[in-house]
């Protein structure tokens, strides 16, 4: 699946490993269930580690461990399931996660701007999505009313400080 990060297609340096499969020596993404079960082993490895969360799984359970993860994958089982927007936000603010938050599953072009705002920075996109599409999606709304995880200046801020 093509991966877009920071406005460009990038190689996926991670491999998602099933719960009962052998771990590889490269970057590995495991389910939350496996992470909780094999936590010690996984964290002891000298390889980048990622956890994949289903939409019903809050990142809260990861706690301090997020600082030791390189990537958290948020699943979108249906584009209507908007829980991941809050999970991404939680990862960035409450948990202070600075690694990659990757969206996987079914989401729409029309959600990309919101997803970016709440802190998602990598996107497993469908085959036909181009970088132009992506850039266009992000640029559709010139201004935003609310503060979010992206730190983008809000309309209220622009009103108060127009020349900064």
């Amino acid at each position: 699946m093509p991966l877009i990060k920071n406005g460009a297609f990038v190689e996926d340096s991670f491999q998602t490993v099933a719960d009962d499969a052998e771990l590889t020596s490269n970057g590995t993404i495991v389910s939350l269930a496996r992470f909780q079960k094999d936590r010690e082993t996984l964290l002891a490895r000298n390889a980048p580690l990622g956890v994949r969360l289903q939409s019903s799984e809050s990142p809260e359970v990861l706690g301090e461990d997020v600082q030791r993860l390189s990537v958290v994958v948020l699943e979108f089982p249906k584009f209507r399931d908007g829980r991941a927007f809050s999970w991404a936000r939680m990862l960035r603010t409450r948990l202070g996660f600075k690694g990659e938050i990757r969206a996987s599953g079914h989401f729409l072009y029309d959600q990309l701007a919101y997803m970016t705002r709440v802190g998602i920075d990598a996107f497993e996109v469908r085959e036909n999505v181009t970088l132009d599409d992506f850039a266009r999606a992000l640029g559709e709304m010139t201004y935003v009313y609310q503060p979010s995880a992206d730190g983008r200046r809000t309309i209220r801020d622009l009103r108060a400080h127009p020349r900064t």
């Binding site: 809050s58 584009f79 399931d81 908007g82 927007f85 603010t93 029309d110 997803m115 559709e140 609310q146």
Partner: protein, 556 residues
């Protein structure tokens, strides 16, 4: 009223372009209907029985003359010459074409209007007391907060794909004319012991399949904290609201599953965090800046004793009748609040023609009134009218068919569009409203009955707010045939209550008789100055049930 600056205008313009592109992609096959549906819903576009329907936002029910004129234009250019005012203070057009919607939205944008988030699983139009800024019992104009909430909730990146729709209402008075306790979040503006003004927050109210009255989750939220608090509520809901069952996805289900105490706890935890970050503080300057937009017009120093008004009441019986019900006391001496009933006897509740919309704009201009209001009871309101102008205004309204003297009376019925228009409906509601209206047309009889709020919904989604009706009627489908369930004793005011169902459903011929029957019981049993609602509450539903099902021996 609020006026857009360049930022607000740009948001709406960008949104029009965005939707235009979405329509293009849909027509080109790049979006399936399943993908397109939530996107068009978030721009207020439904596919109904006969055609598409566009629901245009009227923030807290306030409309300026230029907006009324543009709505008339929309009706003529893109629709069939009329619009329908809804129970959430919005306006709907029933015959719009998908291919025309981007252009219609572009036209709306020229007068600071849009259809953003009037549907979809997002935060909807924020409604407020339709007497805002005018009522005597008002503590503070609720539209100030409503505007702040509107901006914060518009295209919120985190809360645009909620489990279900989310409705917020604000009341600034002792008497709740916004039905806040029946909203997902209801906000009451209150004063604490120190005399400070703040907000009491209810959560988990709602109509629908399982009606609930909201629980207090914030006893007194200080003004600067309000957005942080609301964001906290939304976050708890977005994270934990059910997504497995459409009928259990509203916040009312969550609040009742967790219990109010646990809900408060979770909200407080989020709230403390957000507040500590300062990101959503509403500084005093911002509150003051927004408040300025809602400063009342400069009221003339008038006496409340207006001889011309009193003389007209004496000499003109029709005017006198109208003032009995359609005039409410205004905080400024010499002024009044006038309700324009959109419930002509036998007419379609809440509808207005393009001619009426244009004429109302002219009326506002002629009498120096800057705005009118849409009430959630599907009527219009002139909030600031000089009493001395009332006779002339009444004459104009009469000529327009807008002077029905029935505000709050039995013929002032709220009805959803129902099966005549709506894809979700089980039964028609408008013809029932029309029949009841005609049955009770006699004005003396209406006055004798007094205040009686009848609300009719064509399906369980309860857009007619039947759970909050003194008399509530719910249309149901029994093997493809329309039946109607009757309930009594609901109220959307500060004494909020959910109506109690009387028994088995009536068919479309029986229901009007049943309504007349229960009104009869009220008239027989009422004491002193009891309204219908009071009598129901005092005596219980048994006597009403008996009468409604009289002659049903062979059924039961």
């Amino acid at each position: 009223m609020y006026r857009y600056d360049e930022f607000d205008a740009r948001v709406v313009a960008d949104r029009v372009a965005q939707f235009r592109y979405q329509v293009e992609r849909r027509l080109a096959g790049e979006l399936t209907e399943d993908e397109f549906k939530p996107l068009r819903l978030m721009n207020g576009l439904y596919l109904q029985l006969h055609a598409y329907m566009l629901r245009i936002a009227v923030p807290y029910g306030t409309l300026a003359p230029k907006q009324l004129r543009l709505l008339a234009h929309i009706a003529r250019k893109y629709d069939k010459g009329y619009g329908h005012f809804t129970t959430r203070q919005n306006i709907q057009f029933n015959w719009i074409k998908l291919v025309d919607v981007p252009d219609a939205l572009a036209d709306l944008a020229t007068v600071e209007m849009h259809a953003i988030q009037t549907s979809g699983n997002c935060i909807r139009n924020v409604t407020a007391d339709h007497f805002a800024g005018a009522a005597r019992d008002e503590l503070e104009d609720p539209r100030i907060l409503a505007e702040i909430v509107r901006q914060w909730s518009t295209l919120h990146p985190e809360f645009s794909f909620l489990p279900r729709k989310f409705k917020i209402a604000v009341s600034g008075s002792e008497h709740d004319r916004a039905a806040v306790k029946f909203h997902d979040v209801g906000i009451e503006i209150i004063k604490n012991d120190k005399g400070e003004i703040g907000y009491r927050i209810y959560a988990g109210g709602g109509m629908g399949r399982t009606p609930y009255i909201g629980h207090v989750v914030g006893d007194f939220v200080a003004k600067p904290d309000i957005l942080a608090f609301l964001e906290a509520v939304m976050r708890v809901y977005n994270q934990s609201g059910r997504r497995d069952n459409l009928f259990k996805a509203r916040i009312k289900i969550l609040v009742n599953a967790l219990g109010p105490e646990e809900m408060r706890k979770q909200v407080m935890r989020e709230f403390e965090e957000i507040k500590a970050s300062g990101a959503l503080d509403v500084p005093a300057e911002e509150l003051a800046r927004i408040a300025k937009y809602f400063a009342p017009p400069a009221f003339e120093a008038l006496s409340d004793d207006v001889p011309g008004y009193e003389a007209a009441r004496r000499s003109n019986a029709a005017f006198r009748a109208w003032t009995k019900t359609n005039i409410a006391a205004h905080r400024a001496p010499g002024y009044a609040i006038a309700t324009i009933s959109l419930k002509p006897i036998g007419g379609v509740p809440g509808d207005a023609t393009h001619e009426q919309l244009d004429a109302l704009a002219d009326l506002l201009d002629e009498f120096g009134m800057g705005e009118l209001r849409v009430s959630h009871e599907q009527n219009l309101v002139l909030p600031h009218v000089r009493k001395k102008d009332l006779p002339a205004i009444f004459a104009k309204l009469e000529a327009l068919g807008l002077a029905t003297p029935n505000a709050g009376l039995v013929t002032d019925i709220i009805a959803c569009p129902g099966l005549d228009y709506c894809d979700l409906a089980n039964a028609r509601s408008i013809p029932i409203a029309q029949e009841i209206s005609k049955r009770f047309a006699d004005l003396d009889r209406q006055h004798d009955i007094g205040e009686l709020k009848i609300k009719i919904s064509g399906c369980i989604n309860a857009c007619g707010h039947h759970h909050a009706g003194h008399i509530g009627v719910l249309g149901v489908d029994k093997k493809g045939v329309e039946y109607y369930q009757l309930q009594l004793g609901g109220s959307g005011a500060e004494d909020a209550s959910i109506g109690e169902v009387l028994g088995p459903a009536f068919d479309k011929h029986e229901i009007v008789d049943a309504v007349e029957g229960v009104v009869g019981v009220y008239l027989e049993r009422r004491e002193k100055n009891e309204r219908f609602l009071d009598t129901v509450r005092r005596v219980g539903i048994e006597p009403f049930k008996e009468r409604a099902y009289q002659g049903w021996a062979f059924h039961i």
